[in-house]
Each structure stands twice: as C-alpha cells, then as structure tokens.
C-alpha cells in the first residue's frame, strides 16, 4: 500500500495496481480461492455423480434405464416439455409485444405478474394450482363436470411447468423489442404489409435471438422442474412420474444407481442446454449487441 503511495510514477504506468508484486499476490490468491470454491461446490459434486453411477460398470445403469418406471418418467418429462415450451414461447412473445408496444388498463399489473414465478417457491406454485384446479378447488366442480382431470394428471403438470418457466421468453424478448424500436415495423406497415406479414417478416426476425435464448432457458427449467410438479402430479409411479420425481422416488427406495442414472440423463440434458447457452453467448449476436460496448472499452485499453 505504502509502495504505491510513495512512488506515484509507478502507479501512473498502465495497470500499475496489478503489476506490483503485492498486486500479483492478491490476484493469484483470489484466483485460487475462486477456482477452489467452484471446484468444491460445482465441479467435484457433478463429477462424483458420474463416478458413482458408473462405479459398478454399465450393467446396473442399463438395468435402471430399462425399467418401465424410468421410461415412462422419461417420456412424461419430454411430453410436458414439448407442450409447455411452445405454448410459453407463443404466449411469451405475445405478452412481450403487448407489454412493450401497447398501452392498456392493467398493463403494469400484468408486467409485475410476469416476474412473480421467480419470487415464489415451486411448492407454493404447486399448491396454488391444486387450490384452483384440484377436486375441491375453485374450478374443480366445473372441470369434473366436463370430465377433465387436471391435478394428479398431465394437464396439471403442464400447467405447473408453464407457471415456473413463464418469465423466461417474455423477459428475454422485452429488452430486444425495446431496442429495435418500431421504425421498421412502421415502414413495413406504410408500404402496405398486413399486421401478420409485418410480424413474420420484420418483428420476428429481429427478436429471434431473444426468443431462442428464452426458449433455451424455458426448456432447461421445464426439464428440471421438481417441486411444483411433485405437488400437482401426486407422483404416481409409472403414470405421473417425471424424471425429476423419479430421481427422488428411487433415492427414497434406496436404489442409488436408479437415482444416479436418472440424474445423469437429466444432467446430460442440462449440459446440452449449457452448451447452447455458451454458444449463444459467444455467438455473433452476443458480439453485436450484448458485447458491443465491451469492444469499445477494450479498444480504449489498447490505446
């Protein structure tokens, strides 16, 4: 500390606070602390699961995969995701368009509602759906008269998944919509394009990267949702189990390999999602919009 104060000449040279021995020591220590922390809290645990899964070879894993309960859970997860993600994407784009481009009564209330799923426990979300769509719920009688079972069945699980993953597309698309403005849309409209045509040819192409990123996040959340689905599904083995509730069920049944195997399948899907996120973030769009100013900044440091 005193070294820097007494030798201002050294301090004015570029990057001075870091090139000093003391600065380098601090930097190395910090790097070690951070890498150590990440190793012990992130990397090693994930590695351990892979290790434990294949500890006794492939055979127990294959046996776990061939169990009917696993396969039904696997397909259930895929089906829920295949419904929840497109529905949330369409409504997410619509909601983002309405919230950014339109003024209507109750707009700020809707805007606040969108963030709510991030602030609520998944368990609470599950409970709230049971209270509305369950047998004794607000809509229970109407639904049972119509012969529709929502809770303890797939519709409820889809609803729960849609609820928890609701904000992603909306929140990824809204800033992009604000950034692109309405000039191009107005131009298209002036040139006689219809509303739909303008949306498909002008708006959607401009927001597509926001949409894609939102879809990636929605997919990750849909595949991995546990709490909300656990409550609304009733976790009926072979019927309403998803991969995540299957992990818990196997664990409670002391079938660790079964739990690990299902976990690995989920983890591999998560790694794919992570890969997509990384590719997206380092992709051309990331450089063009997200990192635009960063380039300016690095030019300055070079100068």
């Amino acid at each position: 500390m005193t070294a820097v104060e007494s030798t201002p000449v050294e301090a004015t040279s570029p990057g001075a606070p870091i090139t000093t021995t003391r600065g380098r020591a601090i930097r190395l220590t910090l790097r070690l602390v951070v890498l150590g922390y990440l190793t012990f809290i992130l990397a090693l645990p994930v590695f351990m699961v892979f290790w434990r899964t294949f500890e006794d070879g492939l055979e127990p894993v294959l046996r776990a995969i061939s169990r009917p309960a696993f396969q039904s859970a696997f397909w259930m997860t895929l089906q829920i995701t295949a419904i929840a993600v497109p529905v949330n994407t369409v409504f997410g784009i619509l909601a983002a368009l309405m919230l950014v481009r339109r003024r209507f009564p109750g707009r700020s209330l809707l805007n606040a509602l969108i963030d709510l799923p991030f602030a609520i426990s998944p368990v609470v979300i599950g409970l709230s759906l049971v209270l509305v769509y369950g047998k004794n719920g607000w809509f229970g009688e109407v639904l049972s008269d119509l012969g529709i079972q929502v809770i303890f069945a797939m519709p409820g699980m889809v609803l729960a998944t849609m609820f928890v993953s609701l904000p992603f597309v909306v929140r990824e698309v809204m800033p992009v919509l604000r950034e692109i403005g309405t000039d191009q849309e107005q131009a298209a409209y002036t040139l006689g394009a219809s509303g739909w045509r303008t949306f498909w040819r002008v708006t959607l192409p401009s927001i597509r990267w926001g949409v894609i990123y939102g879809v990636i996040l929605t997919t990750a959340r849909s595949l991995g949702e546990f709490g909300a689905v656990a409550i609304v599904s009733g976790k009926i083995s072979g019927k309403t189990e998803t991969l995540t509730t299957h992990v818990e069920e196997r664990f409670q049944a002391f079938d660790l390999v079964g739990a690990y195997t299902a976990s690995i399948v989920l983890a591999c899907m998560a790694l794919l999602v992570l890969l997509a996120m990384t590719v997206y973030q380092s992709g051309w769009l990331g450089r063009r919009i997200g990192r635009g100013h960063q380039h300016a900044a690095s030019d300055e440091t070079v100068r």
Binding site: V4, I26, L42, R52, P122, P175, Y260, A297
Partner: protein, 281 residues
C-alpha cells in the same frame, strides 16, 4: 429478470401499435393467460390462507414447527446470501479482470446451477458431502448441508449481475485514483465497490428470494427433521401431503410476502445508491 424493467417502457411514449391493432384482443389474451396461470392461483393461496379465519392463519404460522421452519429458512438464506455477495463478486472479478488458461470454461460452468435440475443438484452434493463422501465430510441431514445446496443453486445470481457492470467499468477511473495516490484498498473501497454495489444488491435479492423458496435441492440433503433441518418449503409440502391446505397456504403467504418485500426493498436501495452515484459523479 430485473425488477426495474418496467421503467424503460414508461419513458418511451405510446408507441405505434397499429400493425397488430385488433383492439384489445392481444392484451385480452395476455391477461387471460396470465390470470389462469398466475393471478387466479396466487389469489387462491391468499384466499385459502385466511378462509378459515384470521385466528387459524395466525395459529398456522405460529405453530412451533412452522416457526422453526421459517426461522431456519430465513437464517440459512441470509447467511447464504451474504456468502454469495462476497464470493460472487470475487468470482466476477476473477472472470473479468484476471486471465488464465481455461477461463471460458469456468465462465460457462457458472451457469450450470441454472441448467441443472435442482433435485440433481441435491443428489450431486449428497454424493460428495453425504455419508459416502470420499473426503469423510458428512453434511447430510444438517444445516451445513442445506447451506451447501443453497450455495450451489444460487451461485450464478451475483456473478451474472456483477460481471457486466465490471466489464463496463472504466479502468481509467481506477488508474486516475491510483495516480492521485490512492492505495489499492482505497481504490477498491472508494471507486470499484460503490460502482458494483447496485449489481451486488440486485443479485443478492434474487438469490435470497430463490433461497427461501428452494425445495428440490434441499429435500434430499436436509433430511427434513422437524425443528432442526426442515425448510419452510418442505414444511409446506408436508402440510399439503397431510391434507392441511389451510396451514400450507398460511406459511406460503409468509414466504411470498417476505420474498416480495426483500425484492422491493433491495430494489429501492439499489435505485437510491445508483442515484447517489450519479449525483456525486
């Protein structure tokens, strides 16, 4: 994801909306969708929590087991949030300012907790810090185990909030301060941290909100021993399973109110600090 996202829209005046103009059809569908999915269910929780009377509500949230669960939840979440604020800022600093082989890989790794299902996160931690731990560390069925799980799943919040701000931060400001004779700690305290504080607060608030509602990652590692390692979300789950929706709703409302209050208070704090920074700049 941020709370202040409404402001930019407010500044921009009424935009041209003719191209999708079918009156209130669009807003109507949006409102219906959000109502069926979010508004009505949340209203049902609020209504159910008091539908047996306020006395029942009070009795539900002050039952010894519920109180213990709430107290544990808020304490553990608070500790985890503070740790996250510190280590998250350090991680962001290393990712932005440091340079070493494999940095892009580490950077990608940060998002893992967002991609990995929470139940898998819990199981992975149990594999390393459970009864079969290769290090001989058994944190299963303890409050330490709960904290590990929460630290895992909330890791990205502060890092990803601070990182872009640190990237934007003008190095010249720090160099100027250093050239004027400020020591490294002074530069850190007077120049860097004040600029990062709003982002740290935003990330911390999101992490805290996430912690108090967390379920999937703690259910396996916590052991869920009433009065000792039972988190509020697990308690609510138990009440639902025991067919006590009234008491489950009451505790849910407490979580909901605290979570929203924290998000709002942190947002106000963040705005105040940002404004102060702008004024003094």
């Amino acid at each position: 994801m941020s709370l202040g996202s409404g402001t930019a829209a407010a500044v921009r005046g009424p935009a041209s909306t003719r191209y999708d103009g079918r009156g209130l059809l669009g807003p109507g569908i949006t409102a219906a969708y959000l109502s069926l999915l979010v508004l009505i269910p949340i209203s049902a929780i609020l209504w159910r929590s008091v539908s047996d009377g306020l006395d029942e509500f009070w009795a539900a949230i002050t039952s010894p087991q519920a109180l213990a669960a709430l107290q544990l939840t808020f304490t553990v979440s608070g500790i985890v949030t503070v740790i996250n604020a510190l280590i998250g800022t350090a991680i962001a600093w290393v990712l932005v300012r440091d340079d070493f082989a494999g940095k892009p890989f580490i950077n990608a790794l940060i998002d893992l907790p967002f991609a990995l299902p929470t139940i898998v996160a819990g199981l992975t931690l149990l594999a390393l810090y459970g009864p079969q731990s290769p290090f001989g560390i058994n944190a299963a069925y303890s409050q330490v185990g709960i904290m590990l799980a929460l630290l895992f799943i909330t890791l990205p919040f502060v890092v990803r909030a601070v990182q872009p701000v640190l990237e934007e931060l003008d190095r010249e400001m720090e160099e100027a301060a250093a050239s004027l004779g400020a020591s490294s700690p002074t530069v850190l305290r007077r120049v860097v941290l004040p600029n990062l504080l709003p982002a740290i607060l935003t990330g911390s608030a999101l992490a805290f909100a996430r912690c108090i509602g967390e379920f999937g990652s703690v259910i396996l590692i916590a052991g869920n021993i009433p009065y000792r390692t039972e988190m509020a979300s697990v308690y609510i789950y138990g009440q639902v399973e025991a067919d006590k929706p009234g008491s489950a709703s009451a505790v849910s409302v407490v979580l909901l109110v605290v979570s929203l209050a924290v998000l709002v208070v942190f947002d106000i704090l963040r705005r105040r600090i940002s404004r102060h920074e702008e004024a003094s700049a």
